[in-house]
Each structure stands twice: as C-alpha cells, then as structure tokens.
Amino acid sequence: MNESEATADVWLTQARAAFERYSEPLLRQVMQIFLKPRNQWPPEELIDRGLSTLTNAAIIDRRLKELSPAAQKIMAVLGITGQPTGRVGHLIAILATLGHAEGLTPVLELLNSGLAQPVFPAEGDAPITEFEQWLSLGAIDRARIFAHPAVTRRATETELGLPELKTRKLDVKSRPISDGLEWLLRTAAVWVHVAAAPLRLTQYGQLFKRDLQKFQTDELLASPFAEQLTPLPDPWSPAFELAQSVGIVAMRDGELRADSQPAVWAAPLSTALSDLAKGLFDLRNWDPLTGQTSSDDPGLFPSIFVPILLMLRSLPEGHWIPADSLAEPVYARHPAWSSMLKRKPEQATAWVEKLLLGIGFPLKLVDAVQESDGWFYRLGDTGRQLLLGEVARPADVELMQTLIVQPNGEMVIFRLGLTPEIIGRLTRFANWKTFGSACTMEMNAESVYRGLENALTQTDIQRLLEQHSTRALPATVIDSLQRWSSKRERITLWASATLFEFTAAEDLDSAFSRGLVSVKVTDRIGIAATGEEIDYKHFRLIGNRDYEARPQKCLSFDENGVTFSIDTAQSDLVLEAELVQIAEPLPVVPGGARRFRLTPESLKAGQQRGFNISELEQWAIDRSGDSLSAAARLIARGSSMPALCAKLLVVRFGSEAVTDGVLQYPPTAELIADRLGPDAVVIDEDRIDALTDALAAVGITMQQEASPVH
C-alpha cells in the first residue's frame, strides 16, 4: 500500500466509523439515496457496500450530478483545496461568497446523500437519528464534515460561479522572489520553544496566559522577515499554528510536545511549503490586521482565505490581480466579514494585502509584483501545486557549504543552501538567534544535549557541521561537542524501565546472551530490551510488580528474630535496595526462598548509610507486619548499661506466697539482693547467716543444697 492508498484507507475507516454511528433508520435513509438498493440488506452490508461505492468513480459522478449546485460547490471547494474535512460554518460562509445564501441546506443535502459524513468527536458513541440533531449538539461553527478524497476529486471541475475579476495582463521583468524558508524557520523556532518546555493548551486549543506571554515577547519570532513586503501583527501566532498543523509540534499525553522527527523536515522544500500552506485552511487564532485572537470560536480566516485562493486559481495565464479586486466580492457577499471590519471596505483590501504579502508570498503560495498603482498577485509555485495539481519543479542543485561555525559555538547560516532537512537537523541541536538573509544560531551544552535526546549522536552533529561548513570546524567546537556528549554518557536515567529479577545469576546471564536483557543491573536483575514487547515464551512469571504501587509485606522473621525469608511474589525493588544496606544474604537452598540475616555488622553499616534505628523499627513493621524483634533491637542498639558479674546465692522458698512475704517483711527484705522468679531470690554470700537467723525467727529452716561432686 503506497502513501496515498494508506491515507485513503484512513478516510474509509473514518467513513465506516461515521456510518456506524447512524441509527438504522438514518442509515437506511442515507443509503437509499447513495446506493439506491433493490434489496433489504442488513445495516452491516449497507455500510460495506456504501464504503466500496465511495471509491466507485462512475456512481460518484452520477451522485454528484444529482446534487444541487450549492452542494456541488462544497464538494468542489474541498476537492480543489485538497481538504477532506471542513468546518460547517466556514463552508456556509464560503458558499455565500460564491453566491449561495442557502445556509445549512446544502450541507444537510451532502450528509443525506451519503457523499459526506459528520466528523464525530472521539468521545461518545450514541447513535444519531438525524443530522440536524448532530449539528445542534456540535454547534455549527465547530461541527465539521468530511468527504472521501476520491469523492471530492471528482468534483473539482464544477463551475464555481466566481465573480468577474478585474485582472491585468502584465509583462513582468522583475519581481521579488521568496526563498520559501521564512515560515519554515519560524516554525523551527516554535519547535525550540516547545522542546524546552512542553505546553498545555486550554480546552479550545489556546495557550495559557504565561505561555502566551512567552511567545508574545519572543524577539526572534517578532523579528522582521528577510524579505519583508509588509509587517505582520503577532507573526509568532501563525508560526505557532502552522507548526501544529504540520506536526512539528503535536499533542501527546495531554501536552504539546516537540516531535523529534517531523515529516516536514524530511520533505523536499516544495512539499514542505505545500504542507504549511494547507495549515492555513484551518488557521483559527490569527487575523492579518489585528494579529492573534484569543476568541474560542474558530474565527473567519479560512472562510475568507479560500475564496481568495479560488479567485487567484481562476486567473488566466499572464494575468495578475490587485488586492482590492480580490477583497471586494468577498467583502460584499461574506456573511460576517463586513461586520468584523466594522463596515470599512478599505480594511478588506488591507486584510488581503497583509495575507498575500505576509503569508502567501513567503510560502510561494502567490507571486507578487509591485506596479506604479500597487501590488498585483497571481498563484505562485506552491499555490499551483496545491490548487492546480501541478507537479513541483525539481529543486535546484543544493549548495552544500552554507554555514560558518565560530570558535565560540555560534554559527552564521546562509539561507541559499538551506533545505527543510538541514533546518530540522540544525534546530535539534542549536538555537536560532536571528533570522535574516544570513541567520545565526548558537550551540551550547543544553542545545547539544537536546539534539542527543532527539536521536542525534555526537558524530551526526559533527558530520553535519563539517559537511555544510565553508571552513574547517574550530578545534574548540569539536572539543566542546565531545565534552558535552561524553558527559551525557556518564549518567543514564531510565524513566520507566521494565526490570527482570531472576532467581539466579545464571538465568540473568542466559537472558542477556539471548538478547532479552539489555543492561545488567545487579547479578540477578536486568533491564528488559527496549523498544520491544516482552516475549513471554522465554519466561515463567513468578511475580509482577508495579514499582509505583504501595510496598507490600513480604518477609517473615524466624523465631530467633534476626534471620528471615523473602516472599518473592510480594517483594519489590525497594526491598532489594533496603536489603543491600542492612542485611547479609544466607546461602540459597535449592527451591527454597531467599534468606537473609541481620548482624551487628550489617546493622552498623546500615546506620552509617543513614538507616537509623527508628527507620529500622518502621521497616520491620512495614515489611513483616511485626515490631522489630528484641534480638534485632539488641544487636542494633546494644546497651549503655554495663552487665555486672557477681557471686550470689540462690534461695528457693518453694512457694510464691512465702517468697512474697520474705520480700515484704523488713528484717528479711533488707537482706535480699533480687528476686529471680516466683519462689526464688538471690542474696550476697556474706548475708546468708543473717537471713538464716531472720527466717528461723519466723519458723523457716534454711537447708543447704548438697554440693555437686566434682
């Protein structure tokens, strides 16, 4: 499948998704007009037949002829501009400029005919029963329809009914020529902005205030064009929108991020300009006279821009047209433009002039020539390619040596040799400083680091500079590149790695040799090979832990309070790090659990690494569910009190009650050193006679235990 077939396939998929959202009565109603079926087919078959008919040229031609002129013109506009989708509000306004004030009727006719379908938002899957209901839900301004390119292409020959234009045949000897790079460079500057800090957008795709201010005060994006035929208000704004439309920056994970390899940087200049120009068909937040607009509605720009392009497309060969001749018919018929310009028709001419000189000319969408009575326009290379299907002229032979690298890392870049690819590659690792006939860039550690993060290597950067530099690279620049790159090699941060924990070092070695593990982390743990799904046929999973989940109880202490076993299924990597700090591994019994021991040495080392006694106490509770054992506490804490060694005599009374009495009765109590248990006490050897006497006084006879025979 080639690229255009793949794209067509995308639209068939979208058409299917749209048909599937129709309620059955609506689907049958649409297919009755589109397919004219003779049988009562089930809905699935109706959809399949409908989709195959979308690419059937003969039937499509018949269906297009059955449409009203206004509906035909909508298809023609989509076909000529190469846009498979269009906002309903804009299409109605464009139709008005072509002399049709039927409003929504032609759009509904297209939907009912099956030649166009609604663009449904990703969320929601409730079936629609009528198109008016869908339009009222989506608001006409925001609602979009799409038509398969195979359908709109068949409508491009439709007579548009453009007004008679006041053109002039000119014999142009000289005129300004655009190199086509201005907007490419400015979108590259947007890439640098976004690469530095991804942006969040409002619900309607607008910048938040702080980001907006950053762009508004960006001197580079506000700087004049190299060939400035007219100044533009807020030139950063169209650059920002065009960068989004060509995918230089794109929404990912809820943020606008810089794409590391946008297609537009790999395309020839003519294709890149055509892609940028297509972005103008959906420009929302900028006006050629007033600049950036912060309104949440989609604006009028495309609904004025498209009729102007259609008029330029209709010019006879050799004819040129002034801005007022383009502006007048649109101003007169557009439903909202005159009120936007506060009923000042001269503003309409200024609007068109700004658009064509500030946007159209730099993109080669139009050619411009200044006569004694003002500027005149016709379609330029990009315009003819886009609207007339002309094949782009092959690029001139590339001038390879186009930059000078200064010893301080600054670069002077001559535009003559620039291509989208060189712009893209330079943008990845250097910052644009000025735009002009010669541009300047600057390399620093941060920008080079950015390049390395965006799939370039130090060799790539050096080779690119050497290839395009007019002089040898300064030694200081080569040194800096090497230093910045090698510094990067010293630390690798794995942001979200998948780790394999094996039960034995040999298993890790085996997985490593099979290419299943890319990096060995410890003797048993390795990082899974990146960029590939895990092939489970190589593994038998004994556990699956999400590192971000809460730690689990995963170890049980033995009776002795210092040795313990690990429950491998519940353990996590943090435990591994903890064990390294405070415990010693015990030999693994084949088939048995991993076992560890707390020792005075291991706990002392742990304390030196910052694992203090209170953390140890908490660790025991978190990991085993029990308090730290007395034994573990003993070896962790020790005691400041000395242990005393003394020779004492044990006296047993044979009864707890007698012992209690002896310890309470003052003449005996004062002789006792300590109680050992329920019926035993200890006394100093030299007090035994006194105790014997005191006990005798209360009728207790002291008996000597027989000495052991040695």
Partner: protein, 86 residues
C-alpha cells in the same frame, strides 16, 4: 531452582517482572557517591541496588532530572514519555 535447567537455551526462565521502575545508572561508584552527596537528589533516591545503580522514588523522575542538570550533568534519558528514540 535447577540452575542447569534454566541455562539450557530455549527453556523458560523463572523471572519476576518489575514495571515502571526509575533508575539512575552511573559510569562508576564515585559518580554515584557524588550524586548522593547532593541533599535534594539523595532525598529522591529510594536506595542503591549496587554501588553505581540508584533506585529513584516513584514519581520523582522530573525532579531528579532537574537536579542532575542543575549539577551540570547531561544524563541520557531512556523511556521518558514523549521521547521517540534515545
């Protein structure tokens, strides 16, 4: 487990999977020590798997990255959301 069995090519290896782990791998142990000497960075380190592998606390990737950059390092970042290739 029988190590001989596990080393036999083609046999299934017993393994435990740890997903979404954030790690810092340094070139040498001294560099790891150097990083841990930075208080702010050390606070984000859950532990050391080896003398040159630091385990980062969940959700602290950006903070660690910022801190590394502040310290003048230019770490190679692998698998960060939004990066296609590294």
């Amino acid at each position: 487990m029988d190590a001989t069995f596990s080393r036999n090519p083609g046999t299934r290896l017993q393994v435990k999977l740890h997903r979404r782990v954030c790690l810092v791998l340094t070139d040498d142990a001294v560099l790891a020590e150097e990083l841990l000497a930075r208080k702010k960075l050390a606070a984000d380190v859950a532990g050391r798997l080896t003398d040159r592998v630091l385990l980062i606390r969940p959700g602290r990737v950006e903070s660690v990255l910022d801190e590394l950059r502040k310290a003048g390092h230019t770490p190679q970042v692998v698998g960060r959301t939004g990066n296609k290739t590294e």
